[in-house]
Structures are given as structure tokens and as C-alpha cells.
């Protein structure tokens, strides 16, 4: 007997035909990743959770518009990006959307307690990420933490690949400089 894991694409097809159970299974596969993406760009757990719920609701409502189920991941993160920036605009309506900054993070991201890394390093990383511009931080989150390719990042962020690379490489230079003194190897 051959067992085949249920692919995301199967779940997407079933969910688009109205299967809530399939959609819930799909959500369970992606909720943690989407939540952490939103947490790292908003810096607030409550906002991240609210946004994640909105993202999955919006995705369900628009699932039939997704022509290629293989493109689900960037499509979902595009919704997440838009929802997050919509929230930023609501909070600071007078500011140009391109200049919108997430709230100062004070970063609500888990550091130290359950990590194999020392707390000093985690705090330093959180602080270094906090000093990046929102665009740079989002580029780092999408590439380093979420593992997207440049083309997918360009699709999510609605900008050219060259812009994505520019943001990411500038961010990496800043992070390298900020973290060099306390790199994992430097901490015993």
C-alpha cells in the first residue's frame, strides 16, 4: 500500500470547493510561519495574532481567485504584507504609506529563555533588527527566516528584484557590523 501525504495543493483545491476542514488543515500548516512573519515586522504579539486571523480569513474568501495553487505561499504572504501595512497606515494615516514604520518593537520576540543561544546574543539580534528600516527588516525576515527566493519576495513586496536585493544586502551589511562583536562563535 502506498501512502501519499496530502499536499497543500490538494487542500487548496478542496478548500476552494468549500471544504472548511481542508482549509483548517492548511491553516494549521501555515499559521505559525505567518504569525512569526507578522510578529517580526510588527513587533507586537497581539497585532500579529489579529493580523494572522485576518490574513487567513481574507485568504479563504479569495482562495478561488488563486489560479495556481503552487503559488499559494507567496500569495499568502502578499496578503499578510498588505494587511500589516494597512494596519500601519490606519495607525499613522498622515504618513505616506512608503514611509510607514511599524511601532517601536521593544521586540516582543522570544529571546533566550527556551533558546540554545545565550540571551545576550538574542537581545543583540533583536536590537539590531529593530534598528533596520521596516523595508530592510522585512527583506531580512522574508529571506533569512522565511526562505523566499528573490522573485517571490518581489511578488510579495510589489517591487523589482533589484530593489529587494538592495534592501536585503544593505540590511545584511548593517547586521554584520552590529553583530560581529558578539557572534555565536564569540560567545561561550
Amino acid at each position: 500500500m502506498i501512502f501519499r501525504a496530502v499536499e497543500d495543493t490538494d487542500l487548496i483545491r478542496q478548500a476552494s470547493r468549500g471544504s472548511v476542514e481542508s482549509y483548517n488543515l492548511l491553516v494549521s500548516r501555515w499559521e505559525k510561519r505567518v504569525y512569526n512573519y507578522l510578529l517580526r515586522i510588527t513587533g507586537n504579539r497581539e497585532d500579529a495574532l489579529d493580523l494572522a486571523q485576518d490574513v487567513f480569513l481574507k485568504a479563504y474568501q479569495n482562495l478561488r481567485k488563486l489560479e495556481d495553487p503552487e503559488r499559494f505561499k507567496p500569495w499568502l504572504y502578499r496578503i499578510a504584507h498588505n494587511e500589516a501595512y494597512s494596519l500601519f497606515r490606519k495607525r499613522k494615516p498622515e504618513v505616506d504609506s512608503e514611509q510607514v514604520e511599524p511601532e517601536a518593537t521593544d521586540i516582543g520576540i522570544a529571546v533566550g529563555a527556551t533558546s540554545v543561544f545565550p540571551i545576550e546574543l538574542s537581545l543583540a539580534v533583536a536590537s539590531a533588527l529593530d534598528r533596520l528600516s521596516p523595508d530592510q527588516r522585512e527583506a531580512v525576515v522574508l529571506k533569512i527566516y522565511q526562505g523566499f527566493k528573490f522573485e517571490e519576495m518581489a511578488e510579495i513586496l510589489s517591487c523589482p528584484v533589484s530593489t529587494v536585493k538592495s534592501r536585503l544586502y544593505t540590511a545584511l551589511e548593517l547586521l554584520k557590523a552590529a553583530l560581529a562583536p558578539i557572534s555565536p562563535r564569540g560567545v561561550s
Binding site: G18, Y23, A110, S183
Partner: protein
């Protein structure tokens, strides 16, 4: 400034094509500066990974609520029109059904112009056959009866003729006898 044939950061992030990746690998083997640069990128990424993903504080799940969902019929209809495979199958099924119906009706005999069904036609034919048989039987009976009557009549006529012939013979004999009597005394 890197002396690598391609951007070392693209190489590190696996954004180059396979041949390009191999070219950089060959270069890096003989270039300490590029190896050092790759080492720094690696340390920076390791530091970033000290921030672990958090568990989502509350699972996201949706319930099937008929108020927010399209009706079953509408979902079916949407799914039906959204699937070219199903449409093709339905067309093929309809064509097959049409062929079957056509074949069936041709075997049973076409419905006449007056709109009488084949069953009704059968019934009427049966009725006509019965009527015809009945008429035939009546005719035969009548014919037999007439023949019998004719035969009886002929028999009677023959008897009458025979009787008349016998009577005539007896009269002639009587006449001859009386003529003989008359002649005999004279001759005596």
C-alpha cells in the same frame, strides 16, 4: 570589493544558477578574502537564527457557518463551471444519453405524427388483429353454413329428381300394363 566572478551574497543565499554556483565554489577555494566574507555572512545568519520562531498564542480555525458561506447548490455550481474537466465530462455524458435515447426510440419505432405512443400503437394493432380475426371467423362460419345448406338443398333436389324419375317410371309401367291388357283380350 569582492573578486568573486559573481556576487558572494547571491552565492551564499543560493540565488545563482548551478554553473554559476560552481564557478564561485572554484574561486573561493583559492581566495582567502572571499572565504572570509562567506564566513562573516555565515556568522551573521547564525546570529539571526538565535531568534527562534514563537508558537502562536492561539490556534486559528474556522467553522462552517452557513450565514457566511455560499449555499451548497451555489458552491456546486461555482465548482462545476470552474472545472473544465467536469464540463467536458458532463458534455460527454449528455451526448451519450442522447445517443442512447435515440437508439432506444429507433428500436421501439418512431412516434407517429399524431403523437400516439408506441404502446398505444401496439394496442391498436392488436385490437385491429382481433377484429380482423373475428370477422374472418364469422365469414368462415357463414361460408360453412351456406355450403352445408347448399349441399342439403342439392341433396333434396336430387331426392326429388329421383322420386320424380321413379314416379314417371311407375306411371309408364302402369300405362304399358294397361295398354297390354287392352291389346291382349282382342288378340285372344
Amino acid at each position: 570589493m569582492s573578486c568573486s566572478p559573481f556576487d558572494l551574497r547571491d552565492y551564499y543565499l543560493k540565488e545563482l544558477t548551478d554553473p554559476q554556483q560552481r564557478q564561485v565554489e572554484v574561486h573561493v577555494k583559492d581566495c582567502p578574502a572571499c572565504r572570509e566574507e562567506l564566513e562573516r555572512l555565515s556568522l551573521t545568519q547564525a546570529a539571526l537564527f538565535s531568534l527562534r520562531d514563537e508558537e502562536i498564542p492561539q490556534r486559528i480555525a474556522f467553522v462552517s457557518d452557513p450565514v457566511f458561506e455560499p449555499s451548497t447548490a451555489r458552491r456546486w455550481w461555482t465548482a462545476f463551471w470552474g472545472s473544465s474537466g467536469r464540463l467536458g465530462f458532463a458534455s460527454a455524458a449528455m451526448l451519450s444519453a442522447a445517443l442512447l435515447i435515440s437508439a432506444y426510440t429507433r428500436t421501439a419505432g418512431p412516434t407517429n405524427a399524431a403523437g400516439v405512443s408506441s404502446t398505444e400503437v401496439d394496442r391498436r394493432i392488436q385490437q385491429a388483429v382481433y377484429a380482423s380475426e373475428e370477422r374472418q371467423t364469422t365469414k368462415t362460419t357463414q361460408l360453412v353454413h351456406d355450403l352445408a345448406k347448399q349441399a342439403e338443398s342439392e341433396h333434396t333436389l336430387r331426392l326429388v329428381a329421383e322420386s320424380e324419375a321413379r314416379f314417371a317410371k311407375e306411371q309408364q309401367f302402369a300405362m304399358e300394363k294397361s295398354v297390354g291388357n287392352l291389346v291382349s283380350p282382342a288378340s285372344n
